[in-house]
Subunit: 309 residues, 2 copies
Amino acid sequence: MISESPSESPILDLQWIAVDWGTSNLRAWAIGARGEIAGFRMSASGMAKLHSREFERTLLELVNSWLPNKEPVSVVACGMVGAKQGWLDAGYRKVPCEPIKRNSLIRAPTESSRLVVSIVPGLSQDRPADVIRGEETQIAGLLEKNISESSVVSMPGTHSKWVKLREANVQSFRTFMTGELYSLIADHSVVRNAVASSEWREEVFLEAVEECQKGQVALAAELFGLRARSLIADDSPATLRSRLSGLLVGHEIAEVRKSLGQEEIAIIGSDELTKPYRSALEHLGYRTTILDSEQVTVAGLKKVRELAD
Amino acid sequence: MISESPSESPILDLQWIAVDWGTSNLRAWAIGARGEIAGFRMSASGMAKLHSREFERTLLELVNSWLPNKEPVSVVACGMVGAKQGWLDAGYRKVPCEPIKRNSLIRAPTESSRLVVSIVPGLSQDRPADVIRGEETQIAGLLEKNISESSVVSMPGTHSKWVKLREANVQSFRTFMTGELYSLIADHSVVRNAVASSEWREEVFLEAVEECQKGQVALAAELFGLRARSLIADDSPATLRSRLSGLLVGHEIAEVRKSLGQEEIAIIGSDELTKPYRSALEHLGYRTTILDSEQVTVAGLKKVRELAD
């Protein structure tokens, strides 16, 4: 457990706790009386590692020392904690709709009286069938920033999301298995040796992104092509890893562009993830703004809390 | 080691040994004086499990009891045994070219004098970069059957190959990571539970194949869509597994069709692999012929042996 709280004793003006509980990690922020972040803790006890009965104990262990002795503290949580395999199934709200709706939080059962836990529902879309869980809160946070209420939002990751906003509502979205495919291919497929490098070749990346925009790149063939290039063209692992990135990011952007106008594109994510997306999008002539994912998550959870009052 | 030889003593009229040595398995056929198969043995000692020095011992262990006491026996081998990571790098011949060329076999070094081992080189293509190793021998075998010398050949598998023949020459080919992607996604990705079934829904498979023919199916999005369909449309694992197959096979066929005319399509493979390809291709209006891969491999190795004399 990674503990980054400045305080090991109760936080005197603790008002509530904001929680982002994803598949791999659990993050908690103690929010003080003036809305300030009074403490932060993180653990690797993500949803995927827990049975439904273990969530309460796991959260209590993480935030226990923050809590006052008697009064219960309110917790607002978003992310996979609200999935079928999570603490409890918080369901989905159908798009088009606002990212967060007043009074839509789902109360999670607790044995202890020290926490009152509410979970944010996800969003679903019928055609094409798609789901979001956690990103709806980030979208709400993004709308608190100085961003157009009709932007397109790119959220790179294991499952990259693209969200279309219209007048502060989520109009539609699409998820791509980009990050997961990247890991499966780079670490577990026949091309893993061909792409074994941590170096980056920007020009190779952009070239692959461009190739994908010409339409109909046969991804399954281009992926095997990485191995062939390594064998017969003697392309270096750095070149081929950058090409792998470019093919996957380019494939994603090519699909999204079909319905993209001149909107500003807001990219939410870590530095490592947003960089190639920004680079690809600007190369193709789009305007982008980068937002830090932790910042928009906390802003979103604050908005959720506001609408729950 | 799986031993299926009818004989545990030397094969009296043994003329030579045909070997198909792939990434996962090693197959050896004892060929008698009249060209008949006088013995067959198979082991799981594929190329991927061996260091280059272990190939000779591994082969000797498998075929030892077939061998006469004195005279060396000739072995002709195709497949990944001739890769960089194999017994020795047998190189590639560039297409367009005949699948097998007279006197192009590469002699592998042996310590024992009981075996004289020759390996068939693979084929390579510059644009798009691609390689074949083992399938060239199957193509040579196919041409011994009653198949048009200008067919298109579909070879489903971990790395599915499509080969265009013109007047008995390999004109061009393309490899798709279809089988490997299928395993990675069905066994190791976030959709593995959604597709956990061994049942088959032919109509779902064909519908996905058709979808891909309309052009520009965003594979990375459709793959995540399997999970979304399981969550919000309650699609069964049998349905979603059949859809996964249909998306991957359909993606492959959509690319190949761009340069496909009215040629007959010869499909080489096991029953399990050729069935969905035949079904998809016939659904799209193509004529197909199925050939058993072991039969064409042995026929091809015989042709190689003939041209080496």
